[in-house]
Symmetry: C2
Subunit: 224 residues, 2 copies
């Protein structure tokens, strides 16, 4: 089957993508303890020195994962929150979906690991100013708030224009609750005595959508 001397040779970009994809899947599935070079290599069908070759060190891999997670969050959240149906139930659903597939876990893990990595660094100004990945996250909520606020201004009755700060906190709220829900929502729901997890999660999203619609329209009761 596998003749000796049969190697796959990828472009550096392909190799990096393969490694990052596999690492992401592992983090999502096996939790924080699951980022071992050998495991990643085994799951990707490569040898672990290849990871070192492409990322320099384990820390380099973590840095790349952080950047990628931030980028992914930006893409998904922007897509979910700036579409026309946002603030209807479907819009909220899409925001919650944005954190699925382990992205929330990855972000939480990286946020913690990141504080770790910063510890011990000399406080002097490093080669690049911001923290790694900051360039990606830097303006994500700001961009979303921009789009959303323009829409709210257009939709608001004259004399009742919402403050921009209100829109920012609205976006912040949805992002934070979706994040918290992705990580701890299931256990919260169980602790509230909700039996059907799938159904419970759905109803919570609907309730939240109604709450926000209510707030955004200035007091109109939800339809249902």
């Amino acid at each position: 089957m596998t003749e000796p001397g049969r190697r796959v040779r990828r472009t550096p970009e392909e190799a990096r993508r393969l490694i990052l994809d596999t690492a992401e899947a592992l983090i999502a599935r096996t939790g924080p303890e699951g980022l071992r070079l050998q495991d990643i290599a085994a799951a990707a069908g490569i040898s672990h020195p290849l990871i070192l070759h492409h990322f320099g060190s384990r820390a380099g891999l973590v840095r790349a994962l952080t950047q990628r997670a931030a980028e992914e969050l930006k893409d998904r959240l922007l897509a979910a929150m700036t579409q026309p149906e946002y603030s209807t139930g479907e819009g909220i659903d899409r925001v919650f979906e944005a954190f699925r597939g382990g992205l929330a876990q990855r972000l939480a893990w990286l946020a913690m690991e990141h504080r770790d990595a910063q510890r011990g660094k000399p406080p002097g100004p490093g080669p690049q100013a911001g923290v790694d990945g900051d360039a990606e996250t830097a303006s994500i909520l700001r961009q979303i708030a921009d789009v959303l606020h323009a829409r709210r201004l257009a939709a608001a009755p004259p004399g009742q224009a919402p403050l921009r700060e209100d829109t920012v906190w609205l976006v912040h709220l949805v992002a934070a609750v979706a994040f918290g829900d992705a990580i701890y929502g299931e256990q919260l729901r169980r602790s509230a005595g909700i039996a059907d997890e799938e159904e419970g999660a759905r109803r919570f999203r609907q309730w939240l959508a109604a709450l926000l619609r209510d707030h955004g329209d200035g007091g109109q009761p939800p339809v249902g």
Copy 2:
């Protein structure tokens, strides 16, 4: 100074408490990578086999930490959410404070680590029915919702009694957003262009308190 043969001898409860306290502090400070028996032992001023002696294995220690974190969450949330001033700004503040000191990080980490531990276990019914720590979390939101709902019913004008489900989701929302905020709030705020983190966090809590007061009272605009 330290004569040879000078040992501290604790009661098992004291020893366990010392170890758990130290481990919690380490998790909060050094992130997920920081739970090494030797580190805990060094920080606690003991030798690492003592941890194995009291908890059997590293997994046993994690189990104990999980139970303790759940208990702590229950205590803090109950205290924060069932006091009279809840749903005012101060009440919300206290809920957010409940997750401070690394509790949110610990819960997130343990939630992930836990899925890890479950993986590999045979799907058949184990010796104890529930997952470890579930006995502690089992009813926390339910208890809070009970207290809160009674108060809402008493305060509501006749004919406008809120549904119990509404109260449950209210509690769920606050818990989820406080959780998400504790872990990723700072980065969200930075990505929204908020300069002063302390001040930004405070204003968000105030805004959220106003939103909830608005919802709970049935449409009254907030004071500010």
